[in-house]
Amino acid sequence: MAVLELTNISKHFGAIQAVNDVSLSIEPGQVVGLMGDNGAGKSTLVKMIAGNFRPSHGTMQMDGKELILHKPVEARQHGIEIVHQDLALCNNLTAAANVYLGRELRRGVGPFRILDYAAMYKRAGQIFAELKSETRPRDLVKQMSGGQRQAVAIARTMLSQAKIVLMDEPTAAISVRQVAEVLNLIRHLRDQGIAVVLISHRMPDVFDVADRVIVMRRGRKVADKTIASSSPEEVTGLITGAIEQVL
């Protein structure tokens, strides 16, 4: 069964039709590349799944139940996690503090509860080990490489039982070696049965790691096919409009 299913989703801002009648479904443990030029509607689509915007028309279903989101916190409660393009990290805090930001572990009774540093360091360390990332929970994020910073942002999504992780341009602006690290992180998420939506401009990354590619142009879905049955040339054509549509 699909973990997330969108049916005839549209979003308009006044007269501007940002997303137009898009339907798609995402299976557990599947990596889906979401591609398209600037202004194609990728971000708007993702923001609806993340609870930032409400769709103007259409329905979203999660595990077969209708999903209505009023704010981002609710998306998280449903198991939808987002890795933002700028990673949303605080440089002055440790890796563990960033992983747990907004949902800190505490111990104690009733109103007298203090931060549980030991438990947060321990669990964050376990997650980094699962991700096979050399990231120390006690280090400040300020001192970390691009790949480690990605690991911290991705570790966040693994705190709760995430079902689907949306990643916004995770490989933009980092070095080649770090890109490989990030793609490995994505594979680890997939191996745990988590669905990953990878929003990216970088063709090689999508063809390297994704199972399926969805292409958007001017608010519409113009392609949705397996990676094996597509090619970078075809996707480029779809993004630019040289190829009208393949469905």
Partner: protein
């Protein structure tokens, strides 16, 4: 021998000692200790009980407000209104008690005044997006003006039926001959340190100062916390005002003039970063201590008081210089 991933992850890169040596606060403590040692040898008057009593007590008023300011500065904000809020809260206390109300009522009204002003600042900053500098600059003017209105710009030195209680509260020395204000300062510093290090609220304050956008995205209630920090800052100013009223035994409308700058200087010397994200309770106290020791020593060494500003200003620049040098080294 191969190092496993688990070993790398478990490794602590910084020992306690290396962290201490890397902190600006530590070096300011050293500076304070060295200055005190020097003054003990160089002058007869420094290491006397009376002088030490004076110094510790003088530190407190700036230090208590600096504790509140630390919260604001960690979030990346600034509160310029504290000197005026101190004056207004002192005056509200004085006028209320002068009118015949008990000390409890006076303190309650004074604290309430502080909290209302703090909430006003915070709401304008957090919900309406005003720059903190502008809002608190406006409040600097408003609060002092209100103090003048409340007292009709007179000196209040009679505090009604509980007059003696108020003077004992601020001027007494109930435990081991330590001035009461010092005890309040220590208590408040412990509370501040605890909040910053061990509570979710404290963690979120640092997060806002580090990356406000990230804090918002991860579900930190940024606006509520911002209102809270300005309320804490005003509350600290109010508490300092109450204590100072008891100590001085009189309130004038120029009380606390220019104090905001001393308070900000103390927090910055103590290691807080005006860009946000960094600061400690201990640093605020140490910064206030260094300023007071400089001031005291100039007097004892017979140096013209006009030089005070040069030395305090120099201390600010020197403290930040250390920080810059460390950053340069790290970037290399």
């Amino acid at each position: 021998m191969a190092v496993t991933l688990d070993q790398t992850i478990a490794q602590k890169q910084h020992t306690l000692l290396s962290r201490i040596f890397a902190s600006q606060t530590f070096w300011v403590v050293i500076a304070v200790i060295l200055a005190c040692m020097f003054l003990s040898f160089a002058t007869d008057a420094f290491a006397t009980q009376k002088n030490l009593y004076n110094i510790t007590r003088n530190i407190t008023f700036v230090a208590i407000i600096a504790l509140g300011m630390t919260f604001v500065i960690i979030t990346g904000g600034i509160d310029l209104s504290v000197g005026s809020v101190l004056c207004l809260c002192s005056m509200v206390l004085a006028v209320t008690m002068h009118a015949g109300y008990s000390i409890e009522v006076g303190i309650a009204v004074s604290i309430a005044t502080a909290l209302i002003i703090g909430a006003f600042n915070g709401i304008l900053i957090a919900y309406l997006g005003f720059p903190p500098f502008v809002v608190t600059l406006g409040m600097l003017s408003i609060a002092r003006s209100l103090a003048m209105v409340a007292s009709n710009n007179t000196v209040v030195f009679q505090f009604g039926p509980d007059h003696d209680k108020l003077l004992a509260l601020g001027g007494g020395a109930w435990v081991f001959g330590i001035a009461n204000p010092v005890l309040y300062m220590i208590l408040l510093a412990l509370i501040t340190g605890f909040i910053l290090r061990w509570t979710k609220f404290g963690r979120h304050i640092f997060a806002i100062g580090g990356n406000e956008h990230a804090a918002t995205l991860t579900g930190v209630p940024v606006r509520q916390i911002k209102v809270a920090v300005y309320m804490i800052s005003a509350l600290a100013a109010g508490i300092a005002g109450i204590i100072q009223t008891g100590w001085l035994g009189a309130v004038t409308t120029n009380l606390g003039t220019g104090m905001e700058l001393q308070v900000i200087a103390a927090t910055v010397i103590g290691g807080a970063n005006l860009a946000g994200g960094v600061g400690t309770a201990f640093g605020a106290i140490v910064g206030a201590a260094l300023i007071e020791v400089i001031r005291n020593s100039l007097g004892l060494l017979g140096i013209n008081a006009f030089w005070q500003g040069v030395f305090i200003g120099g201390a600010i620049l020197l403290a930040v210089l250390f920080d810059r040098i460390r950053n340069f080294r790290r970037n290399d």
